[in-house]
């Protein structure tokens, strides 16, 4: 029983303190002794691993100047080989011909996830040692590309999430400086697709995650990653819309029909997919994006934004949020009932 439901239940039936205590224990709203022990073991293990990892990082940072380049490379190589060795010993899936176990080992998953992180560290070390002159986004794109086999083999959500963060950082570093196209002759009219192209890449990735085989990406990981890719695409699309509105000198004339149709089509596709999959979080993201974009354009389009404009914008935000949340809550309740 959820805490709020329990509060209402206790209030309605005017339960005494011992009765509430019985209810808290019976409904397992209070963790059991075994639950506390399990939680304690997990937290202490996590604290121990994180502390020891931090100790290693602090020690390396303290002695960084004293290590030669080859020592640093050998250390990272040794770590990478150890991780790969651990993954072969306790594989996250039945991939190797001499492995007959169907058991999916956490150790193998973790080792491959660490191997992905080490790959990035090696690229960074290479760039620092030999001063290649490469841009930061190139490091991140290279890291994401080299890491694909590792995260596929890891078959873990944590590995895919790390990979996704690396890819998004690469796009965020690349896009603002490079995705400026001269579709219009004047500088003021240049189409600055800062966030649109990353948004489209995320959309394509979402489609890939939705349709890729379970043998490559496990089903549960695929479902989560599809939602995360869509959420990232919506974030980029919202940023693009806000950015576009900020730069618009002639509000109505500045709306590019092509971009408007493209964004609307992608949003409708996302909404349809989310409706089918009952992905309420994605629908909430779309609603939030719509509230932000409509408010930004409202502020932009109201001539001489003053007292009336402020009142209109304030009411618009409240009303649009109210409508969105009411509709979404209705769907949530209907879906909960059906399931």
């Amino acid at each position: 029983m959820e805490r709020l439901e329990l509060d209402r239940f206790a209030e309605h039936y005017r339960l005494s303190a011992p009765a509430v205590r019985t209810l808290l224990v019976a409904s397992q709203a209070w963790p059991t002794l075994a639950g506390w022990r399990q939680f304690g073991v997990r937290v202490l293990r996590g604290v121990g691993i994180v502390s020891l990892s931090a100790a290693v990082i602090f020690w390396i940072a303290a002695n960084w100047q004293h290590f030669g380049a080859m020592v640093k490379f050998f250390a990272l190589d040794a770590l990478l080989i150890t991780c790969i060795g651990l993954a072969c010993w306790r594989p996250p899936m039945h991939v190797l011909p001499w492995q007959h176990s169907r058991h999916q080992h956490v150790l193998g998953r973790s080792a491959l996830t660490v191997a992905f992180v080490v790959t990035g560290a090696m690229l960074a070390l290479f760039g620092m040692t030999y001063q290649t002159g490469a841009n930061t986004y190139e490091l991140f794109f290279g890291w994401a590309a080299l890491g694909v086999p590792l995260v596929i083999l890891a078959r873990a959500l944590s590995a895919w999430l790390l990979w996704w963060v690396v890819l998004v950082v690469a796009m965020v570093l690349y896009a603002p400086a490079h995705l400026v196209f001269g579709f219009w002759p004047s500088d003021a009219g240049r189409l600055q697709l800062h966030w649109l192209v990353p948004g489209l890449i995320c959309t394509a990735m979402a489609a890939l995650f939705a349709f890729i085989s379970d043998r490559i990406v496990p089903r549960d990981v695929r479902a989560r990653m599809t939602q995360i890719a869509i959420a990232t695409a919506i974030t980029f699309a919202t940023l693009e819309g806000v950015h576009f509105a900020e730069r618009a000198t002639r509000p109505w004339a500045s709306i590019n029909p092509l971009l408007f149709i493209l964004q609307t089509a992608v949003y409708i596709a996302f909404a349809y997919w989310a409706q089918q999959k009952r992905a309420l979080a994605v629908l909430a993201m779309l609603a939030a994006s719509w509230i932000v974009l409509s408010t930004v354009w409202l502020v932009k389009l109201v001539p001489n934004f003053d007292i009336g404009g402020a009142l209109l914008a304030g009411i618009w935000i409240l009303a649009s949020a109210w409508v969105s949340v009411t509709v979404l809550t209705g769907w949530h309740r209907a879906w909960s009932k059906q399931s």
């Binding site: 009765a19 073991v41 100790a55």
Partner: protein, 333 residues
């Protein structure tokens, strides 16, 4: 005791089975289901942004020319918000309007408070804010509003202690190492004590009918305990009040955040637990930049803490296995 009961009637049977007399003449209506947290977040954020525009509107429409006038308008807005919250409890849109009006009033109220405190006494300003937010948390009957008010009150309390005997001018401020820790203790200890008390007496205050106030207070305290020590005391080095931040500050922040995670686990609230762990991680990152101690010292402490935590984890895991085996044996006998 564990049971598969999952409806109101089943829980009533469980209570009767345990010997508790329950008056069930009027059965509770089935709950329509809780709103997911991200929808509540949309509501809260929309109210905040709406309040910014409404504040702009009130400032232009009424043009309060003195702190007193702003205070009077703020109180009027608060009265309207309170009436809406009480009278239109089931009209969702009006609740939102009330929320936005209340936030607008709170923004306006800062002006007279700031004027009263003067430029030299930030702690007096924060003390007034603490009392004001505490009052709003107790009086205004909307759960999200209560959580925010109690969180603002906790933040104001921490700031009042943090900036005690200081002025707004950062260039003239200085806090000693000892003073930083004493301030941390005074700010954090009451919050930790209150949270512990609320956790221990949960059944009592639910039975006494105080859940509508205590539940939001507890959630706000978990967030405050996890977040505030790290944010507000680590800033001492940033503001130039301390030359070098001691490692003890982020370590205390980590301990507080982990305490918040334990409280969140007892409340079975996953998002609060994730938030508390994220705060602990933030403090760990800050530890790297705490220049009061060398990296080698920090590395040695981290080894000691890591080994101790793993040993404790091993011991706890072993005792769990042993108790499970003894239970199995007693069952077999």
């Amino acid at each position: 005791m564990s049971t598969n009961a999952n409806t109101g009637r089943d829980w009533l049977e469980v209570l009767r089975g345990a010997g508790h007399a329950v008056d069930a003449t009027a059965l509770m209506a089935a709950d329509a289901g809780e709103r997911p947290w991200y929808l509540t977040l949309i509501l809260a954020l929309s109210a905040w942004f709406s309040a910014v525009f409404l504040l702009f509107f009130v400032a232009l429409a009424v043009r309060p020319e003195s702190p007193g006038a702003a205070g009077v308008i703020a109180i009027l807005l608060l009265v309207i918000a309170a009436l809406l919250m009480v009278q239109a409890r089931h009209v969702f849109f009006l609740q939102q309007v009330a929320f936005a009006l209340s936030l607008t009033a709170q923004g306006l109220m800062c002006w007279p408070m700031f004027e009263y405190a003067g430029d030299q006494q930030p702690s007096l300003f924060f003390a007034q804010l603490f009392a004001f937010q505490l009052l709003l948390g107790l009086l205004l009957p909307y759960r999200v509003h209560r959580v925010l008010s109690f969180l603002f009150a906790a933040t104001a309390w921490t700031c009042a202690v943090r900036f005690w005997d200081q002025n707004w001018d950062t260039s003239t401020r200085a806090i000693s190492f000892a003073s930083t820790h004493i301030r941390m203790g005074i700010a954090i200890f009451p919050m930790l004590a209150l949270l512990t008390l609320l956790l221990q007496r949960e059944a009592d205050w639910i039975a006494e009918g105080y859940a509508v106030v205590m539940r939001p207070l507890m959630q706000a305290l978990v967030i405050a305990v996890a977040l505030l020590p790290g944010i507000l005391f680590l800033s001492a080095e940033f503001f130039g009040e301390l030359k070098y931040m001691s490692s003890s500050v982020p370590i205390i922040g980590i301990v507080c955040a982990l305490f918040g995670a334990v409280a969140a686990y007892q409340l079975r609230t996953n998002w609060l637990m994730a938030f508390a762990f994220a705060c602990a991680f933030f403090n760990l990152l800050s530890l790297y930049y705490a220049l009061g101690n060398s990296l080698l010292q920090k590395s040695a402490w981290a080894v000691a803490i890591g080994v101790l935590a793993l040993l404790l984890s091993f011991a706890l895991g072993r005792s769990r296995t042993e108790s499970a085996v003894s239970q199995q044996n007693s069952g077999a006998l």
